[in-house]
């Protein structure tokens, strides 16, 4: 177990985090997912040591770094932090930024040079040594800030909304690059994000946080298909309910005739590739509101049928 959080609590004027328990295995990439104000950034800051929890404990590599008696300073936790705005030191070159955390180790200059080269290769920015942060694009700055963190060989890397200031068009590419770098380095990483699609794409596990509580913790597919509550279900995508049972779009087949349930169309919205249909599904004379994506011409019908597959 690389990271173990037990019963963490934190409040300012009102409770921000309530009894947070979280275990993370070595090499895992975990997302802390939540809306703004859910407490996810506070949780990340507490793990890093920038903020102090009111109670609970925190262990890294089976060593207690925070509990009632102890509170290790950030500099003594060996945790790397990649900031939302990268926080590169504007007065230092790329090379000096990367070397910043390496300074205290007493390795010789040549060795340090090699480390910088290795890291620049890893983040694919060889030849950028003498540049200053303001001469780099956002994506490049981010990769340098990861290289800077990797230089100190941390036990754990924390990333605060790493894609929030990235252009939507470049997001997928940068996501992939970042993931590749972290996988290559064989490190454990925690992402904070508000975007469920991003979380599902990059993480081995997702901790879904709402109002300071972890509502569900598990693999992306498990959370997506077996959400513990309607809230969780709706947050991860279109969720249609019959009673307590959640049906994702992939479980619904639309048919002109001969389906399991009759459907009445109420509203159709043109979305380009598809029509978003707001319908009522009639099951045992009860009506249930569903949202369906129509890639064909169901939007022209006033009534049709659906079949549901169970998981």
């Amino acid at each position: 177990m690389i990271l173990e959080l037990k019963q963490l609590n934190k409040s300012f004027d009102k409770p921000i985090l309530k009894d947070i328990n979280l275990d993370i295995e070595h090499g895992e990439i975990v997302s802390i997912l939540g809306k703004s104000g859910s407490g996810k950034s506070t949780l990340l800051n507490i793990i890093a040591g920038f903020e102090k929890a009111d109670s609970g404990s925190l262990q890294i590599n089976d060593q207690v770094i925070f509990d009632k008696k102890r509170n290790r300073e950030p500099q003594d936790r060996n945790i790397g932090f990649v900031f939302q705005n990268y926080a590169l030191f504007p007065h230092l070159t790329v090379e000096k930024n990367i070397l910043f955390g390496l300074k205290k180790t007493k390795e010789n200059k040549k060795k340090k040079r090699e480390v910088v080269q290795e890291l620049l290769e890893m983040v694919d920015l060889v030849g950028y040594e003498r540049r200053y942060p303001h001469e780099l694009s956002g994506g490049e700055q981010q990769r340098i800030s990861i290289a800077r963190v990797l230089a100190t060989d941390p036990d754990l890397i924390l990333l605060d909304e790493p894609f929030s200031s990235v252009d939507t068009l470049l997001k997928a590419e940068i996501e992939r690059d970042l993931l590749a770098i972290i996988k290559k380095s064989n490190k454990t990483a925690i992402f904070v994000t508000h975007d469920p699609k991003e979380a599902m794409a990059i993480s081995d596990k997702i901790a879904f946080l709402e109002d300071g509580e972890i509502m569900q913790y598990g693999k992306p597919k498990d959370i997506y298909h077996q959400p513990k509550s309607k809230q969780v279900a709706s947050f991860f995508g279109i969720a249609n309910f019959i009673g307590e049972k959640c049906y994702r779009l992939s479980q619904i087949e639309m048919k002109k005739s001969g389906g399991m349930h009759k459907v009445r169309l109420e509203e159709s919205i043109f979305r380009g590739e598809y029509h978003e249909l707001h319908v009522k599904v009639i099951v045992d004379e009860e009506e249930y509101p569903f949202i369906l994506f129509d890639y064909g011409d169901f939007h022209k019908e006033s009534e049709f049928y659906i079949s549901l597959t169970e998981r």
Partner: protein, 525 residues
């Protein structure tokens, strides 16, 4: 929150506020004979002439400051950039020096009256009165309002003038209904500075024999040796300042006056015809009387007396001024940097207000601080002597006293520049450094210090300028026989050797002009 950094700030705050507390504490208690006498006789005169001066100077600087800011912001004419720059220049001439110069020009045997007699007018106009003081202080202090209000006008102009005009308002209406109300905090804030300077002014009020509270405090303390009455007067002056501060605070209220961004290039109205000439005339007046005439006077007499006065003694005094100003500016900026860094890394409620508390000395009249510090150090010396730690005065009359006085008086300048410098550096840089393995202290040295270099240098220059001009504290607290440019100017003027002051005044003005020019051009006002 308990940490290793905050106690330093707390202790510093207590030490810096101690003189003010001592003054208040000393003022209350049994009434002395002189205090009763004071109340029956001159107290009302002190208070009323202070109030008259405050209202008159406040009103005149307001008209002049806002007027010049308005003309140079919303209109275009030839040489406008020159006017924008020159209108700030009177700032470089300390009020007391301007006072000495005009008293000389209008002296019985001098320029003005010689001219009158040459055209047959034999009357003598004595200028040593409150009206002259009002005019001179207006000329010396209006740049506060001009600079601050103009900056505010420029901001609201680029953000809101075009949108407001596009809604169909006339320029006049937009100015009076939008831009002027939005600039209210700037106007009231800069006016508060003028009022505080007016209450605090010593050199000119004393020389022109205007009995305001500040000279009265000094005279009561040093002339009548009545500490009770002096502190009593000091408390009255403090109350006046506090009222100003409260009004300023209250005025700002909860409304948001934050304006950001720019909406399109704003076309300035071109001044033509008689309006142009009237504007030239009005804008030239403060520049001519507030800067050019004093500068010419100083240059002429500096030249005349240069060979006589530029000697070892002059160089010693120049050296003293440089040394004491540079050292205190350095100490203040270092202390302010520590305090600012502490509240940056531990933004507790107390730490956020500590900067404000430490700035209180700047609002207090110099006279209050002077007698507060004297009382503090007398008590410490007395304790030291009583306990046989020393046999003579240890702190009283030492250079440390003067240094401490500058710290109390000017800490606000340090705190302000440091805080606005820190605001521009993301706290994430600090966190990044710490998560990369450095503690707070090393992070401060490796990250914040290099990034703050320009802010610190700017603060140092401002402090250097403020201390080199400072008169009352230096005069009262300097070590025996230790002269600075300001005190020498004062002493020569009071010995009726006005022309001999020129070379010292010139030094002060040249030293002040350099940073002033940097500020005006760098801030693009």
């Amino acid at each position: 929150m308990l940490n290793r950094w905050s106690p330093f700030s707390y202790i510093l705050t207590i030490i810096i506020l101690l003189p003010i507390v001592l003054v208040v504490n000393h003022a209350f208690g049994s009434e002395t004979q002189t205090l009763i006498h004071l109340k029956e006789t001159v107290l009302w005169e002190y208070v009323s002439s202070t109030l008259i001066l405050v209202f008159a100077v406040g009103f005149c600087t307001l008209v002049l400051g806002v007027g010049t800011a308005y003309l140079t912001t919303f209109y275009h004419f030839r040489f406008i950039n020159l006017f924008v720059f020159a209108l700030a220049l009177p700032f470089a001439i300390p009020t007391y020096i301007m006072g000495y110069i005009y008293s000389d020009i209008f002296g019985y045997f001098n320029h003005f009256h010689l001219f009158l007699r040459s055209i047959g007018i034999k009357e003598y106009f004595n200028v040593l009165n409150i009206y002259s003081v009002i005019i001179i202080m207006t000329l010396a202090l209006y740049p506060y309002i001009y600079l601050i209000v103009k900056a505010s006008f420029e901001k609201s102009k680029s953000a809101l003038l075009n949108p407001a005009l596009s809604l169909g308002g006339s320029r006049k209406r937009v100015f009076f209904e939008i831009i002027l109300p939005l600039s209210r905090p700037a106007i009231v804030g800069s006016l508060a500075l003028v009022v505080m300077e007016t209450i605090s002014e010593y050199g000119i009020t004393e020389y022109y024999n205007v009995k305001t509270l500040t000279p009265a405090i000094f005279n009561t303390w040093f002339g009548l040796h009545d500490s009770k009455s002096a502190t009593y007067l000091a408390v009255i002056a403090m109350v006046m300042v506090l009222i100003v501060l409260i009004v300023e605070r209250y005025n700002r209220g909860k409304a948001s006056y934050k304006i950001e961004g720019a909406n399109g290039e704003v076309k300035k109205e071109l001044l033509k015809g008689y309006k142009l000439y009237v504007s030239y005339f009005l804008l030239s007046l403060p520049i001519i009387f507030g800067f050019l005439i004093p500068l010419i006077w100083i240059s002429v007499y500096s030249y005349e007396y240069a060979t006589m006065l530029v000697d070892d003694k002059f160089l010693t005094i120049l050296g003293n001024s440089f040394y004491s100003s540079a050292l205190s500016a350095f100490v203040i900026i270092v202390l302010a940097f520590f305090v600012g860094y502490t509240s940056r890394i531990y933004p507790t409620v107390i730490n956020r207000y500590i900067g404000k508390a430490l700035s209180l000395g700047f609002t207090m009249p110099g006279a209050v601080i002077a007698i507060g510090i004297i009382m503090l150090f007398i008590n410490i010396d007395k304790w030291l002597i009583d306990n046989y730690i020393t046999t003579k005065l240890f702190l009283g009359g030492s250079f440390f006293t003067l240094l401490f006085a500058y710290i109390v008086r000017f800490f606000a300048i340090g705190v302000n520049t440091v805080e606005s410098g820190f605001e521009r550096i993301s706290i994430d840089l600090n966190r990044a450094s710490r998560s990369l393995g450095f503690n707070y202290f090393k992070t401060m040295l490796k990250v914040e210090l290099p990034l703050m270099r320009n802010s610190l240098l700017f603060g140092f220059i401002l402090l250097f300028m403020a201390t080199i001009k400072e008169l009352p504290l230096t005069l009262v607290l300097r070590p025996f026989n230790y002269e600075t440019l300001a005190t020498k100017t004062y002493l020569l003027a009071n010995a009726q050797m006005l022309h001999e002051t020129a070379i010292y005044a010139l030094s002060i003005i040249v030293i002040s002009l350099i940073p002033l020019s940097i500020i005006i051009t760098k801030r693009h006002i």
